[in-house]
Each structure stands twice: as C-alpha cells, then as structure tokens.
C-alpha cells in the first residue's frame, strides 16, 4: 500500500508533468474541456529539425558556461569551505551568513550593480562575464556542499598525506578532491541547474552575444505556440538528465568507498 502511494506520488509530481509536455509537443490544439488534444501533428518536431543548428548552438553554449560556472564556484569556495569546516574563529557564523547572501537576495539586486562594474571592466557582453555573474549568484550552494564535505571526514587524511611527504597541492588534488567528490557533485549539480536555467542574468550580462538555451526558449514560452515550447522544454531536460546518468555511473565506485572510515 505504501509502495503504491509512493508510486502514485512520484507519477503525479514527476511523470505526469512530463507526459503533459509530451502530449502538448505532439498536438496542435488542446483546449479545455477536452481530455485529449483535438488534433495531433508533428509541427514542433519539424521546427526542431529546421532550427536544429541554432538550438544545438544555444544548448552547447548554455552547457559550457554552466560547466564553467561550476568550475569557477569550485575554485572560489574550496579554501573557504576548508576554513569553515576546520577552524573556529570569532565572527565565523556572521561571515558564513554573509557569504550566503547571493543565494538569498534576488539576482536582480546583484545583476544591476554588477552590470555597471562589468561594463567598466569590459566583461559585459562576454562569455567570461556570464560565467562570473552566474558563479557569483550560485557559489553559496557549492560552499555549503563543500563545507559539509570537509566536515564529513576528519583532518587526518590531509595530515597523513602531508606526513607521507605530499605537497599541499598534491593533498588537495589526490586526497581531498576525490573525498569531496560526492559533495562536489551535490553542490555542482545545483550550481549547474541554476546557471543552465538562468535567463535574466545571462541576458543582461551576456547582452545577447552569448547564446543561451533559456534565452532561445523564453520567447516561445511567452508565445501562444505551446507545442514548440513544450518540445523545447523537453529538450532542455535532456542535458541535466544526461549529466545525472554519467555522474551516477561515475560515482558507482563510491558505493564501495562510502563505507570507508573517516
């Protein structure tokens, strides 16, 4: 009975919206009170085929700047995360709270101020500018995940590696990062999804010169062409899904490692 309820809940929250998108994508009109669409057609598929290059370019661009944002947040937060996890100092709670602000404040608050600065620095309308602004609003997720990761295992691993003669960089790359990988994936996934689905920041800082899938799909979502919008939304899901599958397979080894002591 409990399993049946769980399945029903999963179907309602996950499968049903996808099914609705799929039905929308393959129909030309589906109006209330019809239970099923009045007519089916492949217009959305033909649109996808015709504009395949543009869509692929936007998808690739979004994927690349989102991955770059993940990498940048990792670089930004790895040392602060270690500091927060390993050391106690006065004002630590306050500092931790302040560093979470970008995730709490509306992105617009950041973006409008940042836009002026980026214009002066020559970062506006550039891919690095987009990566930087996305990293600035999403690094708190990475910071939290990595801090928890560092807290999950003791200082002994690093001390042991140093005692065996490893340099701090070797300790980070060969001992700490592999141990942090599950946390990195957790934090990186959120950063990726925030970056990948962002519309406003990419549009403002990228100024239209950095192709973005969210930018491509947004006008269609606002139009009356629900069929194409639905299909492109499904395509939008493909990239994160592929990443999840790849990462899940990559982390299979960690199911063994997970039993290791700290």
């Amino acid at each position: 009975m409990r399993w049946a309820l769980l399945l029903l809940a999963l179907a309602t929250f996950f499968a049903l919206p996808l099914a609705l998108l799929l039905v929308n994508a393959l129909s030309s009109s589906w109006a209330f009170p019809d239970l099923l669409p009045a007519a089916w057609d492949g217009r959305a598929l033909r649109f996808l085929w015709r504009h395949g290059d543009d869509i692929a370019r936007a998808l690739l661009s979004s994927t690349l700047y989102s991955l770059a944002a993940v990498l940048l947040t990792l670089l930004m937060t790895i040392l602060p995360a270690k500091l927060f996890a390993r050391h106690d100092f006065s004002g630590k709670r306050l500092l931790e709270g302040l560093l979470l602000l970008p995730a709490l404040l509306p992105p617009m608050v950041f973006a409008l101020g940042a836009h002026v600065v980026f214009l002066r620095l020559g970062l506006a309308d550039t891919a690095p500018g987009v990566v930087l602004i996305l990293a600035v609003v999403s690094y708190p997720y990475m910071l939290r995940a990595l801090t928890a990761g560092y807290q999950a295992y003791g200082e002994n691993f690093a001390q042991c590696a140093i005692n065996l003669g490893a340099s701090p960089l070797r300790v980070l790359l060969t001992v700490e990062l592999p141990l942090l990988l599950p946390s990195l994936v957790a934090g990186g996934t959120i950063v990726f999804l925030v970056a990948f689905s962002d519309y406003f920041l990419v549009f403002l800082i990228g100024g239209g010169s950095v192709p973005a899938y969210s930018g491509y799909i947004f006008p269609l979502l606002n139009s009356s062409d629900r069929s194409v919008a639905s299909l492109l939304t499904l395509v939008f899901l493909v990239v994160p899904l592929v990443f999840f599958v790849v990462i899940d397979r990559g982390l299979a080894r960690y199911k063994l490692v997970g039993r290791a002591e700290g």
Binding site: N156, S167, T174, A260
Partner: protein, 323 residues
Amino acid sequence: MFLEIASLSKAYQGRTVLHRVSFAVAEGELVSIIGPSGSGKTTLLKLIAGLEAPDEGRIDCRADLRQDPAILVFQDYVLFPTMTVFDNVAFGLRARRMARQDVAERVMAMLTYFGLAELARRLPAQLSSGQQQRVALARAMVVGPAVLLLDEPFANLDRNLKGATAEFIRSFQQEYRITTLCVTHDLQEAMMMSDRIGVLLDGSLRRYDRPAAVYRHPGSVAVASFLGEVAVVPRRLFTVLGIAGEAAGVAEAVGVRAEDVDVRRDPEGAAVVEELLFAGPFSLCRMAIDGLRLCAYSEDEMLRRGDRVRVTIRSFIGVEGER
C-alpha cells in the same frame, strides 16, 4: 641516543595536554608509551611527526627528519578510501617523484613482505581491519622512515588478534631495525613487544624503563593502578597482612596488586569475602579487611561470598608517599 624528546609541552586552548615530557629512544628500539585515553599520547606522536608544533621543548633525532621523516600510522589507519591498496602504498613514493618503475618495484616488494600482494587492486573498504593495518604499515615503511610512529595499533583489533599483531609488529620492527615509538592503552601487548615502556598520565611521563622494571617498580600508586588493580594498604594493617621488610620499614602505606595476594579460607581470618567474579581461569575475589578493600585472584572453587579468609601478601610496591 637516536631520538631524544626533551621537555616537550603542548596545550590546546589553555588545557595542558603534554607537560614537560622527556625520554630517549636508542636506534632500532621499540618503545611504547602507555596511558589512558586523553592522556596526550596521540598529541605526542603528532608532535614528533611534525604535524603539530610544541609549545615548549625539543625533538632531536640523529637522522634528518626532513629527509627521512618520522611516519605516523594513525589509529584508524587513514587509508585513502578512493585509492587502491597499491596506490595507497605508492602515495609517499609518488609524492617524492620517484620513477614509475621504481615505485612499482618497491611497492610490490613491500606488499609481498606484508602478505598483501594479492590485494593490490582492492579498495581499503574491501579489506579486513587487520589487512587495513598492514596496508597502513606498508605505506609507512615503504618510504624508509627514520622513525615509525604507531598510534594505538591494537585499538581496532579483536582481542584474539592483538597478541599476534604485537608479535608481528615486533618481528618486522626487528627485521627492519626501525626505531619505533608506539602509543597504546593495551598494556599486555605493549609489554610483550617493547624494549622500553613509558607511562603517560595526565600529560606527564610518570615512569620510563624496561617493561619488567616498570611493572615491578611502578614508583607510584597512580602508575601501579594504571598497570593493574592496586590496593593501598595503610601502615596499621601491615602486621595483619604480614607486610614487613626494609621497604615497608618507614612507609606509611604500600601498594598491593591482586596477583600478589594469597587467600585461604579460615574461620579465624581477618578478611571477609564481599564479592566473587568468575573470570575463567580464576575468580576475582574482593574482600574487606578492617575498612580496606583488597582484591585477589583465587582458584578456590569452594570460596563463597561472606566466607572469612586469611590474607597474606607475597610482595608489595613501595609508593613513595604518594596516594
């Protein structure tokens, strides 16, 4: 001496963990520092390994510890969980940028010595506790340390594995002639394998000598109590218990260990059995005698609670006025 620890002190946030600890270790010796949990043993090892800095004192080693370091084998072994056994053991050599072929040869030689060659491709989580310990020892030994530091090597082992592990540590330590400093709270194993032992209580090294000398002449009740159950017998009971001789001559009290107490049933005896605990080859017998509680090991199966017994003391410990 090969390794000299001089007046080493360390405090954390105002709490003294080590207080002026001094001792020396000869080259190729195995020394065990024993003490209860929280007595500062692990801190001592971390200071010698260079992982922490002392507040005061010196660590002098005839070897250059920057060249041939003191390698610490942690209590939980701290094997890198994402690396195979081979990669764990190779870690220190790769950190020294040794050529790949040399790394492979030295690692496999060490794994073969420790009986781990078959497990080279396994992950640490796939090994038993004893195997993990051997990997940790191999990883430490492969870099040719000047001093091997062992933190609680028996802590994660089953009771029946501890003795065998002590013998194994002793045998490879002697074969490699590696100067070894071990900290543990397992007394028997420490005594079995060590050239010398030190007793660390509340951050101070209270006794440091050959195992037999420390056991027979602990020098204080505190040390004797750590080494086993000890009753402090006041002077007024010396005659009743037959404690005499030069050592007892001026002492206000002496320490008496359970194994040095003889118990015989005797209706006229001065002591009364309060408790009997069966412990396999013997029973632990707790007695009261004129307000003093005394403990003995008895093989008398007829002994019962409430029996009166005659108690004689075979030998005792001078306690130097300390209680």
